[in-house]
Symmetry: D2
Subunit: 93 residues, 4 copies
């Protein structure tokens, strides 16, 4: 059981849509579409990926991290440190 288990369908739906956007990008490049239009589509795919990341992170905090804290012990600290590192990677990416 993970944080995202309850939202699995929604996560998968979003990821399939992003996969479609990335395939759409390949077609745009094949068709020699205008650079700026390709860039607009990339920004849109990037934002969509960030949306999935924020959703997963929220689920992770609400479930995995919250449970580890409620249980207590060493695992809670590790989970919090891990979450902080994941947040830092997201903010910097």
């Amino acid at each position: 059981m993970h944080g995202y288990t309850q939202n699995k369908d929604e996560v998968q739906k979003r990821l399939r849509r992003i996969e479609g956007q990335v395939r759409g990008l390949q077609k745009m490049v094949d068709d020699d579409r205008y650079c700026i239009d390709v860039l607009t589509q990339i920004s849109s795919a990037t934002k969509a990926l960030e949306g999935v990341a924020l959703m997963l992170l929220d689920d992770h905090l609400q479930h995995c991290v919250a449970e580890a804290i409620a249980t207590g012990g060493v695992d809670a600290n590790q989970k919090l440190t891990e979450a902080s590192h994941a947040i830092a990677r997201l903010v910097k990416s």
Copy 2:
């Protein structure tokens, strides 16, 4: 002819790799992989998309924008404004 025409193979190679990463993400979610590992993979795909965007933007400035400026006229201003807007979308995404 677009800015990226000369780098088309490289752009397509990167986009196919990103498509593979997004499909890999779907498999990770299917397999109930740990949230943090999914997030790490999302950060990696986001960075890869940004890399493609920066490459296309560089090509666009070096070719389309530079040519419009060298030719002069109204088109040059429009191309510069357009590029600035694309940069703003990238910085904010």
Copy 3:
């Protein structure tokens, strides 16, 4: 008592340094320094601000959020939702 109470000196030291960078930016503009050098300094101040944000967020999760979860009740959910919103703002800014 807040998450950052123990790191207050470090947070203030960083914020004073960022204030100095922003004043430095004003001087650069006054002195008509080259645009690209000004931009480099802005990127550096932005990264420094993000660093403070990540530090505060980590402290917040480790203390305020962890305590609310350990105590349980409605406050824990509110703190988690609040933290997720703050993370989303950071990722998008």
Copy 4:
């Protein structure tokens, strides 16, 4: 003469406002204000800095880069490469 010369007053006004925000942040920390409120203010200062960067970059492309291209020669390529690097730093910060 730089790209931002015509907007110097506006740039300085924004930078002074950002300096005020960073000083406000120090006061918030001194006053032990709630972490999330400090984070919200940091996101706001970060966005404001990005706004100044995008303004300077736009001015830089419209003036310095456009003039170098119109003049032609080696300087044009260098200015374009330099601008691309500055954009990459901004996108990544």
